[in-house]
């Protein structure tokens, strides 16, 4: 049972704050680190993996400081996001080299290659591998010493659906064995499928932490904004504001559109077509104004 503790950690690069005063504890099982691109996930994982010094705060593994402590790698396995990985070697040579650097040998390398089902291509050079194959060999190199903590930075990037399922299955198994598995992703559905516990990072800040379903509900329940264009904007506005599912409507005369703020997502989406039909109004456009992942996440920060 290994626990990774991030305690009031910040990291800045010059004037840019990449990670802003984050504290979290990552324990056994699978944890998803969710956030939009550029949120600071990689910076955080690099600090957890001991590849980057926190500007303030500490990262510890069962009480041991991670930075400048190569002994922690006996227990940590890392799957970096970067592609570069000694492309002039074959898959087997690469995993074997990783095993030897841990003081292990061919037996462990072979077992790790079997775990990721890469034995069939182990004698091909890495520069001939597809992205999914590279990802699996990276996994093998991280698993070769049977670590109790596994850190994966965007592991599903570039994988096809079958490879994704396979890797998810592998990670589920590792989580069930009591290992501490943390993976980062900017894709909600990916995290949903794999992790019950998530940590959300937005713009370098720790936006939410806990059970996935609770956080998902928070995301759905936030006020939604829509831009609506119809055959009679004013009549539609009058009919919509009478319902408690909306909290504000602006008639944008210049744009020829309505800006609607809905507080009850489910009710509003059912109400709009019904109201339009009852009043004989034709809907031309209904588009969400803030559905980007970034705006969903920023709502979480404010919540």
């Amino acid at each position: 049972m290994t626990t990774l503790t991030i305690d009031n950690v910040s990291r800045w690069f010059g004037n840019v704050v990449a990670v802003n005063d984050i504290s979290m504890t990552v324990g056994p099982g699978i944890t998803g680190l969710l956030g939009p691109n550029g949120a600071g996930k990689s910076t955080l994982i690099n600090m957890m993996g001991g590849f980057l010094a926190p500007s303030t705060g500490t990262v510890t593994l069962d009480g041991q400081v991670v930075w400048r402590n190569e002994q922690v790698y006996r227990r940590i396995g890392v799957v970096p996001e970067r592609e570069a990985m000694y492309d002039f070697l074959t898959g087997r040579e690469f995993v074997l080299a990783n095993a030897e650097l841990h003081g292990l040998g061919a037996k462990e390398a072979q077992r790790a290659l079997a775990t990721v089902e890469m034995e069939y291509a182990q004698n091909r050079r890495i520069d001939t591998y597809s992205k999914g194959m590279r990802q699996r060999v990276k996994m093998a190199s991280a698993l070769v010493h049977d670590p109790s903590v596994l850190l994966l930075d965007e592991p599903f990037n570039g994988m096809d659906p079958r490879q994704r399922m396979q890797l998810m299955e592998l990670l589920r198994g590792m989580g069930a064995e009591g290992r501490t598995v943390l993976f980062s992703s900017h894709i909600l559905e990916e995290v949903e499928q794999l992790a019950a516990h998530i940590e959300v990072v937005v713009a370098g800040r720790h936006a939410a932490s806990g059970d996935f379903r609770k956080i998902r509900r928070l995301m759905t329940d936030r006020p939604h904004r829509y831009v609506v264009r119809s055959s009679d904007d004013r009549a539609l506005a009058a009919a919509l504001i009478a319902d408690p599912s909306t909290s504000g409507i602006e008639v944008d005369v210049k744009e020829g559109a309505l800006r609607v703020q809905a507080v009850d997502f489910d009710r509003f989406t059912a109400l709009l077509p019904r109201v339009a039909r009852a009043h004989g109004i034709r809907l031309f456009t209904v588009s969400p104004a803030d559905e980007s992942l970034e705006s969903v996440f920023s709502y979480l920060v404010a919540a």
């Binding site: 550029g38 970096p80 080299a97 030897e100």
Partner: protein, 239 residues
């Protein structure tokens, strides 16, 4: 202090990349020039001195040193694959020392040995010129490897920085400013050559004790500092 796996990765990385062509092209050029001169000029001590001192020691050795020294670590840091070395319970000083040994091995093999052969081709080792310059090339290889390995660890522009040092500092300033010669790996190596060669066969600007002290100090200092830099090397990630 030496890790065979780190050595294997370094060695294959060095000789597997395109820049390795430079490593083989320069000694080949030296041998061709020497053979041609022997055929057309005959065995001549002055010619041997000019070729071995002017081309082999002043140009070829530092260039091979730049390619081998920076290439032993620079590309791994640039492309991020060094993370696979760093995520292991292996001491950073062991990584650096192993890479230094590989860089020295490659530089000595591709500069000192061709220098010795070229010396025999040029004048049959008359006045011990071939052996003297080969020994100088070998000892210069050690210092250059350490200096350029350090550059590969501290800057992404290690090859450019290395070339500026090797060509501008050692060659240009060395010929213009007397003080610069004292701080020149080439001159330290020549001090050894002067001792080995016959009287007056080789001249150096620095005495042997000073030269050896500086060589050891620079090699040890650069290697220690490179290990220290690797311990605190940050990997910023893709963001």
């Amino acid at each position: 202090m030496y890790h065979p796996t780190v050595a294997r990765l370094t060695y294959r990385g060095l000789l597997g990349r395109r820049r390795a062509l430079v490593l083989f092209a320069l000694p080949a050029l030296l041998l061709v020039i020497s053979a041609v001169l022997r055929v057309f000029v005959g065995a001549d001590d002055d010619t041997a001195r000019n070729v071995l001192g002017g081309f082999a020691l002043a140009t070829m050795v530092p260039l091979i040193g730049v390619v081998a020294g920076t290439g032993a670590i620079g590309p791994e840091i640039d492309d991020g694959s060094v993370v696979y070395l760093l995520a292991k319970p292996v001491k950073r000083h062991t990584v650096i020392l192993t890479k230094l040994i590989v860089a020295i091995g490659v530089t000595v093999a591709l500069s000192a040995i061709p220098t010795l052969i070229a010396g025999y081709l040029l004048n049959g080792n008359s006045q011990q010129i071939a052996v003297a310059y080969a020994a100088a090339a070998a000892i210069a290889s050690v210092a250059y490897s350490a200096i350029f390995l350090l550059l590969g660890t501290v800057t992404r522009h290690a090859v450019v920085a290395g070339l500026v040092y090797a060509l501008v500092w050692e060659s240009l300033f060395g010929s213009l400013i007397a003080g610069a010669r004292t701080l020149s790996v080439q001159q330290w190596a020549l001090a050894l050559a002067q001792r080995i060669g016959a009287d007056g066969a080789v001249t150096a600007e620095v005495g042997l004790p000073v030269a050896l002290t500086l060589l050891v100090a620079v090699t040890v200092g650069a290697t220690w500092f490179a290990g220290h830099k690797l311990r605190t090397l940050s990997i910023a990630g893709e963001e």
